[in-house]
């Protein structure tokens, strides 16, 4: 899987194959007898380099009214629901790796099965029934690539960094301190009788 992600040129090619960009076609057309009509539409998946899973048209399902009718895509991305009664229906597209907004479809009995489609999530009405994913879905967390900053920022990195500061920078700081002041401080230290290592720290703080 990781290999697929990295080989973006290959994916771009696949993506191009997936995306069949046709010129605008008059869709949402219906025909039918008496009370049953036909809903035709098309699913368009844009090419993408980021997908971590190969999206295939053969794995896309189009569902009417919560799975009451299921149809599949033709190689050009078109789908058709036959024998749909007039009324307000719901079309959903299930494709791994993509999120599609459900579509409200009004099939008019008066206008001989004229179809009006509206994307429910964005409340956008469609002039032609071309369904495109709202967003891509990434099912896995992406591991941060190896980064020195990450190591440094991690608690362990901070600890090591702190040690480095103490070991290498502290003596340098000590050198800058006025020798007399230093002596005074050491006097104090001796009086208190504290171990020298710990007493270095407040001394350093004072010097800043």
């Amino acid at each position: 899987m990781t290999q697929i992600i990295r080989s973006s040129p290959v994916l771009a090619f696949i993506g191009l194959q997936i995306c069949f960009i046709f010129f605008a076609s008059t869709l949402t057309c219906t025909s039918g007898s008496e009370d049953s009509y036909t809903i035709t539409g098309r699913v368009k998946i844009p090419p993408s380099n980021v997908i971590g899973h190969t999206a295939k048209f053969s794995n896309v399902k189009v569902l009417l009214n919560g799975g009451l009718k299921i149809t599949f895509l033709r190689p050009d991305g078109y789908f058709t629901f036959h024998k749909v009664p007039a009324g307000t229906h719901l079309i959903e597209v299930s494709a791994m790796g993509y999120f599609f907004s459900p579509v409200r479809v009004d099939v008019s009995a008066r206008h001989r099965g004229k179809v009006q489609a509206t994307l429910i999530e964005t409340r956008r009405s469609l002039t032609e029934m071309v369904l495109e994913p709202l967003k891509e879905e990434q099912y896995y967390e992406i591991r941060e690539p190896f980064n020195v900053m990450n190591i440094v920022k991690s608690p362990m990195g901070l600890m090591v960094g702190f040690m480095v500061v103490v070991v290498f920078l502290m003596p340098k700081l000590m050198e800058n301190i006025d020798p007399e002041e230093m002596k005074q401080a050491q006097e104090e230290m001796r009086r208190q009788g504290v171990p020298s290592l710990t007493s270095l720290l407040p001394g350093a703080g004072a010097s800043r």
């Binding site: 990781t2 399902k61 569902l63 009214n65 009451l68 033709r74 009324g87 299930s94 591991r143 070991v167």
Partner: protein, 978 residues
């Protein structure tokens, strides 16, 4: 400094524990996914061309799939809609798979190599009828050889190239039923044979190019037909007459109809009723008489002659053309634990081309179906392979006397699931090899470290995966400390019980349900029968499997008690009464067998186990046993109570009569029950109280006797497009099942079903469709106990003036109040479940099975009625999420990650021993298992915790301490010298 290190350690640990959702390389570590297709109905082989050999199958789960004939793997498959049952499969032009579905009204073509749908055609259908598909075997791309489809009263000719309907012919005339559509090979005439009112045979001759009727002949048959028919050649069929004792050969050569009657008694002595079997054999038919299968040869003039007879438990394939105009067929019969596969020539039944004997697992049952295929061996002789479907729905390929591969397709139709513990690891039995050397241990951890820092090469990644699987020991057959290893017991519709290991999903054991009373009982449900954990520790745990002889609810039931460790049936019994409802009681006997009540159709209940001890326990609690029944069709819910022993009617002392206690009748003109639900009886609730942000206490109304009922107006019971918002409303109720009291009623105007709900602790979450907004909605209802609300004062508690110890009774009206909130949800839902943990402390997640067959984990905090638009600071600290109008769908929280659980039907959760973790098992056509930690694994380190990094850090720190110490000593010394 050392102290500082140890102070820092917990900080470091806590940051390491927090693991968010899954990384890609973690997929498959704690989860597994198995793909199935279901019980095979039709199979078509595609082996002519060189290259991949396949078999195209369609199944009872409405799956069309292409399987690898060598290994049995799935090349591709499609799960059609639940109402889109497949009637026929064929291969056209050598490159398209043709499926006919929905009672002959939908014809689809799929690309053979990759399963892409090529075309789809909707066909006219006027009424329900037989549906027949015939695909010409001809490889020529020619409109002269169209696919002929009969369904719904119409005959269609469809071009295989693009699915265009070339012509259609109406056969919907009054009383006319088409039985067979035949097209002699190479001819352009199609014969359509049908019966008018089962008493007149009519034959149409139709030109296959134009669809014109060339000729029509009809002839009345005085006796009438039974409808059973077998076509033996392109111009002859054999039918049973209405008395089922006479075989009638109908010849329609050149359009002339002729009848020839042959009484079965002439063929077989003292015969009873006959039955025509389905296999198509050329110039021969198979008839089942007197529990024997009789082969009847049809002579040139329609003369019938018995050529062979076999025992009735023989399965046969259709006949298949082998070289030199000869046809052969395969038959399989059982003998003890073996099956015999024979391939014979149709013309000379004595000439057995192939005779193979294969050892067969007894728990696969009998052979149901045989599909035969031939191939040319290197020595130019014919080789045969047979695809067989067994009684437990499994699919096997037999070739050269061996089972080449098998698929456990029974698991595609799981009806009930429960979990069971594995045996404890015994002393002296070392299961895993003790850890290798320290060096290897370190090496492993260095590898893991490399992996987590993304420095690993591909080989390293493989090594890491292997190491993880090995080191976790997840596939052992013993209980582990965390309770991660368990058995999932799955009962299938075919009546087989499978035990699956949670580690890798392999089948540990399987057992076919048996019964004396009937051939094959159906599996209904599973119950925990005996779970020893206090007494009877020497006993193995066992489960109760309830089955039924037949699909009708009044059919007699079958009980089977199965040992979980061994998979052996302890006892089984035909109980002689029907099974409507099984009620596990909260009592166990001295051997920790749980008492169960089984209600039958005549209103009696039966107590199991049938022991005097169980009876005495039951008599003690006689007055406290209540249950309810839901009659969804009539809109009535009834509460029942025990009345007396039914000794007056039968001598059975374990049988009891019952009395109706209450009824809730929903008005049938305005409400129709579409969903009912109760809490899981074994659910653990950690705390009864809930503390609000303002230090206020709320007491949860936690009762096991709450029933959630959803009703819709009858008009809204149909599909989504069929009703306007004004016509439909959805009403939900919370009903106490002891008293029948309605505790809460909530109505949603302009909404309709289907309702999918989940009930846990004191809350219900349900999913339904809002017609006004034309969106799905999710509503949460939480129910709280008002009567305990005063127990907030500490002084009251100290002085004992509280009512916490007062018994909770259903007789008094509970003072409850509810809180609810609704949200939009962007997807259709198939099922909802909730996570369950050992002690109920861990926060809960809803598991939503979406229409795309994925499972979404949604934190319960998103469906909390206390959410407001602008939560205060205190509320935010408590974790209340600002209110949004719709629930978020975060792709990373799909627990199924990149898998689809095709045909998802149910989700089962079970706690592990570790409080943070829960087992999730989803079933449909596919199976999926994973472990979830809804609040992260706060009580254990994750698998990818890097001990090496920790060790290295400690070593570095210790070294640093020494270095600084040495440096400071040196410095001090130089200071002193100064």
């Amino acid at each position: 400094m050392a102290i500082r290190v140890f102070l820092l350690l917990p900080v470091f640990l806590s940051s390491a524990i927090v693991s968010f959702s899954l990384y890609e390389d973690q997929a498959g570590l704690a989860d597994w996914h198995q793909r199935y297709i279901g019980k095979v109905k039709h199979a078509v082989f595609h082996t002519q061309k060189t290259g991949r050999k396949r078999v195209i199958v369609s199944t009872e789960e409405n799956v069309v799939a292409s399987l690898d004939l060598r290994h049995g793997e799935i090349f591709w498959r499609h799960v059609l809609g639940t109402k889109d049952a497949i009637d026929g499969v064929g291969i056209a032009l050598g490159k398209y798979v043709i499926t006919l579905s929905s009672e002959g009204s939908t014809l689809r073509a799929w690309n053979l190599p990759d399963g892409q749908m090529v075309w789809e055609t909707a066909l006219h259908s006027a009424h329900h009828s037989k549906s027949l598909l015939s695909v010409p075997i001809n490889l020529k791309v020619d409109k002269d050889y169209p696919i002929t489809v009969f369904g719904g009263g119409y005959l269609h000719a469809v071009s295989a190239l693009d699915g265009e309907v070339l012509w259609e012919k109406d056969f919907t005339a009054e009383g006319f039923e088409v039985q067979r559509v035949l097209q002699p090979l190479g001819s352009t005439v199609i014969y359509v044979l049908g019966f008018v009112n089962l008493s007149e045979a009519v034959v149409y001759q139709i030109d296959s190019k134009s669809g014109e009727v060339l000729a029509q002949k009809s002839m009345a048959f005085p006796g009438g037909f039974s409808g059973e028919i077998s076509s033996v050649s392109s111009d002859k069929v054999v039918v049973l007459d209405s008395t089922k004792s006479i075989l009638v050969t109908i010849g329609f050569l050149d359009g002339d109809i002729s009848f020839q009657k042959t009484p079965i008694s002439d063929l077989v002595e003292d015969s009873g009723n006959a039955e025509i079997l389905s296999p198509l054999l050329s110039n021969m038919l198979a008839v089942k008489v007197n529990k024997r299968t009789v082969f009847v040869k049809v002579g040139g003039e329609g003369k019938l002659e018995v050529v062979d007879s076999l025992s009735d438990e023989t399965a046969m394939s259709d006949s298949l053309a082998v070289a030199d105009d000869q046809e052969a067929f395969a038959s399989v019969h059982h003998e003890g634990s073996k099956i015999h596969l024979m391939v014979k020539l149709v013309n000379e039944l004595d000439n057995v081309l192939l005779r193979e004997t294969i050892e067969m697992d007894q728990h696969r049952g009998r052979v149901h179906k045989v599909f035969m295929n031939n191939y040319i061996r290197t020595d130019r002789s014919n080789g045969f392979r047979a695809l067989i479907v067994m009684e437990d729905h499994s699919l096997l390929l037999l070739q050269q006397g061996a089972i080449v591969w098998s698929r456990e397709e029974g698991l595609a139709s799981v009806t009930d699931v429960t979990t069971a513990e594995l045996p404890v690891e015994k002393d002296g039995v070392s299961v895993a090899k003790v850890e290798h050397t320290l060096f290897e241990w370190l090496k492993g951890h260095v590898l893991k470290l490399k992996g987590s820092l993304l420095l690993a090469s591909p080989e390293d990644v493989v090594a890491i995966q292997e190491l993880r699987v090995k080191s976790s020991g997840k596939n052992k057959l013993t209980r582990d400390h965390n309770g991660f290893r368990k058995l999932i017991l799955a009962l299938t519709r075919g009546g087989k019980l499978f035990a699956l290991h949670t580690g890798d999903g392999r089948i540990v054991w399987s057992m076919l349900l048996k019964s004396q009373a009937c051939e094959r009982p159906n599996g209904i449900s599973l119950y925990q029968w005996q779970v020893p954990h206090h007494h009877a520790m020497d006993k193995n745990p066992s489960v109760l499997v309830v089955g039924r002889c037949g699909s009708d609810s009044s059919a007699p039931g079958v009980l089977s008690f199965v040992d979980v460790y061994t998979g052996k049936e302890i006892t089984s019994s035909d109980i002689g009464h029907s099974v409507v409802q099984v009620l596990p009681l909260p009592f166990t006997d001295s051997t920790e067998q749980r008492l169960h009540l089984i209600a039958d159709t005549v209103g009696h209940v039966h107590l199991y186990p049938k022991t005097s001890e169980a009876l005495s326990i039951f008599q003690r609690e006689f007055q406290n046993i209540y249950w309810y029944t839901v009659e969804a069709d009539d809109g009535i819910i009834r509460g029942h109570v025990m009345k007396s022993s039914c000794s007056g009617e039968t001598a059975d002392e374990y049988c009891f009569t019952t009395r109706e206690l209450w009824t809730v009748v929903f008005p049938s003109e305005s409400e129709k029950i579409i969903s009912t639900l109760t809490r899981k009886s074994n659910e653990v609730v950690h705390t009864q109280a809930k503390v609000n942000t303002d230090q206020d206490l709320l007491y949860k109304y936690v009762s096991k006797n709450l029933l959630f009922v959803a009703t819709v107006s009858p008009k809204g019971a149909g599909e989504i497009g069929s009703v306007t918002p004004e016509e439909s409303s959805l009403v939900v109720y919370l009903i106490d099942t002891i008293t029948g009291r309605i505790l809460h009623r909530l109505s949603h105007q302009g909404c309709q079903g289907p309702v999918h709900a989940v009930f846990s602790e004191n809350w219900v979450v349900y999913h339904y469709f809002n017609l006004r907004a034309h969106k799905y909605e999710v509503t949460v209802v939480e129910i709280y106990d008002q009567s305990r609300a005063e127990n907030k004062n500490v002084w009251k508690l100290i002085l004992g003036k509280h009512n916490l110890t007062a018994p909770i009774t259903s007789y008094s009206r509970p003072e409850v109040f509810t809180k609810s909130q609704s949200y939009f949800f962007a997807q259709s839902v198939k099922t909802i479940a909730v996570t369950s943990t050992a002690k109920g402390i861990t926060s809960k997640q809803l598991l939503i099975g979406t229409i795309g067959d994925q499972i979404l984990a949604l934190d319960k905090r998103f469906v909390d009625p206390r959410r407001t638009l602008n939560p205060s600071q205190a509320e935010k600290e408590e974790g209340i999420i600002p209110l949004t109008d719709s629930l978020p769908i975060i792709p990373q929280s799909y627990v199924t990650h990149s898998h689809r659980v095709e045909g998802l039907r149910g989700i089962v959760t079970a706690p592990s021993k570790l409080e943070s973790t829960t087992h999730v098992f989803a079933y449909g056509v596919d199976l999926f298992y994973t472990r979830l930690a809804p609040s992260k694994t706060y009580d254990s380190l994750t698998d990818d915790f890097s001990y090496a990094l920790l060790l290295i850090t400690i070593v570095v720190l210790v070294a640093a301490i020494y270095i600084t110490w040495a440096l400071s000593e040196k410095k001090e010394l130089s200071e002193k010298w100064r």
